[in-house]
Amino acid sequence: MNRIVAKEEFSRNPGVKMMQIEAPRIARKAKGGQFVVFRLNETGERVPLTVADTDPEKGLVTIIFQEVGKSTMALGKLEVGDCLADFIGPLGQPTHMGDFGTVLCVAGGIGIAPTHNIVKALKAHGNKVISIIGARTKELIFWEDKMRELSDELYVCTDDGSYGIHGLVTKVEEELLEKSRESGEIGLVIGIGPPIMMKFVCKTSEPFGVKTLVSLPTIMVDATGMCGACRVTVGGETKFVCVDGPEFDGHKVDFDEMLKRQSIYLEQEKVALERYRHSDDCGCCDECGGDR
């Protein structure tokens, strides 16, 4: 159960990795927009990750993650054939499907992963999809081919201009919304990526009055509607990302509060990471400056 059957490194520094996990039930059931929770081992924490892709026939779930803390680093160290202690899902509400006309999907960095699964669902539902994918630099762009194949139009941006359009995804977003202002062609924007990027995707679309969905990567513990760790303020009301979300109307989300809440455990995360880097499990002595 929960065996890793494929692994690929998309970027080395920061580490961005793809894994396919054998989880037939989840693969059959997961829809675009939903997430899973993994736990590495007995002492592990429960970490939510949005589903990047599923293969119901082969019973596989694809996840893509950036190595930002101890748990994701340790996950990245696992190899094909290894198993996760727990792989739980699908969780959260699927992206609401409808006839939106043209949907503009804006994905930043690791957000390309969940966006892929949503675009897949949108296309299956018969929508036209324009996608913008962007990252800080060329190395962090992945799945361009898959996104191009699914989308009716695809724009690729890098902040440093090392690939595609030089600039932020919001620049292209604004241009496309401007173009669609008259026709009203774009009926929905979906923005997924780092919280700060989502905040600006929403700020960009707001003056155009186009509804914008964001997928919030809040801190969770049980992720099944029990603990309330994931609460966010949406339209002045407290909502729970694990059961009410993860997608919300981005124009109503209190991003500033959410950003502050994302920083609660920064200190502890540093401690855990330091401890991990000096442990035998890490195996990357070059990073600890040789003081092991």
Partner: protein
């Protein structure tokens, strides 16, 4: 009889040795050590063995109290454990967490003029004795009926249903959403009150009876109740507590403000008190305020001390008399140094520019006329606001039902709060073959009440499956 009464009066209720308050307030080990054999026999000898035992009526699962206490008095501890298990699948747990003072012990005849028999301590003693002897006797299991039952939620209600139905020969599978079975027994009640090894032993016991358990299986998402009914003959829903209730106060989403569910789940289920050995972190506040007056509030405030708090306050809007927590929990909290700010209600949480909690503004309260619950209604005293400096706050004022199953089962009727509409005597819901019990039906209650609901539902399900 008169002689016995006199004897019982002479022998005082036997205290249970426990860790010294100062010591235990800084560790997560269990507080009481339990009775020694002789003490248990002495305490058991106080029982009058009434012909019409009132204590049994006070027990939600009608444990045969005089019988098991009598066996302890006679030194047959294993026999006492077996007697207990005839009606109660989880005696080691109930002996620790039941509110005996308002149930069995409240009805004890000895309590009228003195102190009641320590039924809870004796229950715990017998169950622990059996477990420590390693001589767990498996009960007779009825011949297989071929009926398959799905139990959704592995908490007290679900474990009870599973235990009762497996003995009747049914094929039982528990579906548990979390990675560990036990529900509130593993995520909610702290180690120092209910060691997790004991819960594990009870779960293992059910497995040894043949109960199958699927953990990390979130019914409602991975499979709906309707889908389960295609492969099971009946379902029991015991999904328990859901989203925490917040007070809708300014600043409630500040960093350092927890729901009790989150605070306790981090500490208990995820073992955050052993961070960084365990990966899950928790804010180890120096000055912690817990809002509420129930057992969950006591557990939170005592957990805060053990995580290293210098000050741990209970802020409660009524007075000590109205506090719903068990007497023993309040007593233990006081002994350990929890400070009670009574007749005070939070009105606002104050934070710094980085979004971290720095204090809580409260208003003083006074008690007015009794409300629907029979308790005197607290009213704010105008212009009596004051600020308590804290860096962590735990909101322990209750929770709503878990939304996952009701929201994905269209034919399942719920009430206006989202609790499942189920007959309290049978657990029967609006769907044929679907039963429910515990917090998901009644809202927040006790472990033993959930077990009582499970017992009734199991009996009704058995009858349904025969028909």
């Amino acid at each position: 009889m008169a002689e016995e009464v006199n004897k019982a009066k002479k022998l005082p209720r036997q205290p249970m040795p426990e860790q010294a308050p100062k010591v235990r307030a800084r560790n997560f080990d269990e507080v009481p050590f339990g009775y020694a054999n002789e003490t248990a026999m002495a305490e058991a000898s106080r029982c009058l063995r009434c012909k019409k035992p009132k204590c049994v009526e006070g027990c939600p699962v009608n444990v045969k109290i005089p019988e098991f206490v009598g066996l302890i008095a006679d030194g047959d501890f294993i026999g006492a454990a077996h007697k207990l298990k005839e009606t109660n699948a989880l005696p080691a747990i109930c002996g620790r967490v039941c509110p005996q003072e308002s149930q069995c012990e409240a009805r004890c005849v000895l309590g009228k003029k003195g102190e009641p028999v320590a039924i809870g301590r004796l229950e715990r003693f017998a169950a622990d004795y059996e477990r420590n002897q390693g001589k767990i006797e498996l009960p007779q299991i009825a011949p297989a009926t071929g009926k398959k039952i799905a139990v959704i939620g592995g908490g007290p209600a679900g474990l009870t249903v599973a235990g009762d139905l497996i003995k009747l020969g049914h094929d039982v599978t528990i579906f548990e959403a979390l990675h560990k079975t036990g529900g509130v027994l593993v995520y909610g009640i702290p180690e120092f009150r209910l060691p997790k090894a004991i819960v594990q032993a009870e779960v293992d016991y059910l497995k040894s009876l043949g109960v199958k358990i699927e953990e990390s299986y979130v019914v409602g998402r991975i499979e709906t109740v309707d889908e389960l009914l295609e492969r099971f003959d009946a379902c029991f829903i015991g999904t328990g507590a859901g989203l925490p209730v917040f007070m809708k106060l300014e600043g409630e989403n500040l960093n350092g403000v927890y729901s009790a569910n989150e605070y306790l789940t981090r500490s208990n289920l995820m073992k955050a008190y052993r961070f960084p050995e365990y990966d899950t972190p928790i804010v180890k506040g120096k000055r912690v305020a817990t809002f509420g007056g129930g057992n969950v509030a006591m557990d939170s405030s005592r957990t805060a001390l053990r995580l290293g708090a210098e000050k741990s306050y209970i802020i409660y809007r009524r007075s000590m008399d109205e506090m719903p927590a068990r007497d023993e929990e309040i007593h233990h909290a006081e002994e350990e140094g929890v400070e009670f700010l009574l007749l005070a209600n939070p009105v606002r949480l104050i934070g710094d520019e980085k979004g971290w909690l720095t204090g809580v503004e409260c208003v003083r309260m006074e008690l007015g006329e009794p409300d629907e619950s029979g308790r005197r209604r607290p009213q704010p005293i105008p212009d009596s606001n004051f600020v308590v400096e804290v860096d962590t706050a735990v909101v322990a004022i209750g929770n709503g039902p878990n939304p996952l199953v009701p929201s994905t089962t269209p034919d399942l009727k719920t009430n206006r709060w989202g609790n499942i509409d189920a007959d309290l005597e049978t657990g029967k819901t609006s769907m044929a073959g679907v039963y429910a019990g515990g917090d998901i039906v009644t809202g927040a209650a006790t472990v033993i009440q959930a077990m009582g609901a499970g017992k009734k539902a199991a009996a009704a399900m058995h009858e349904y499956l025969q028909g």
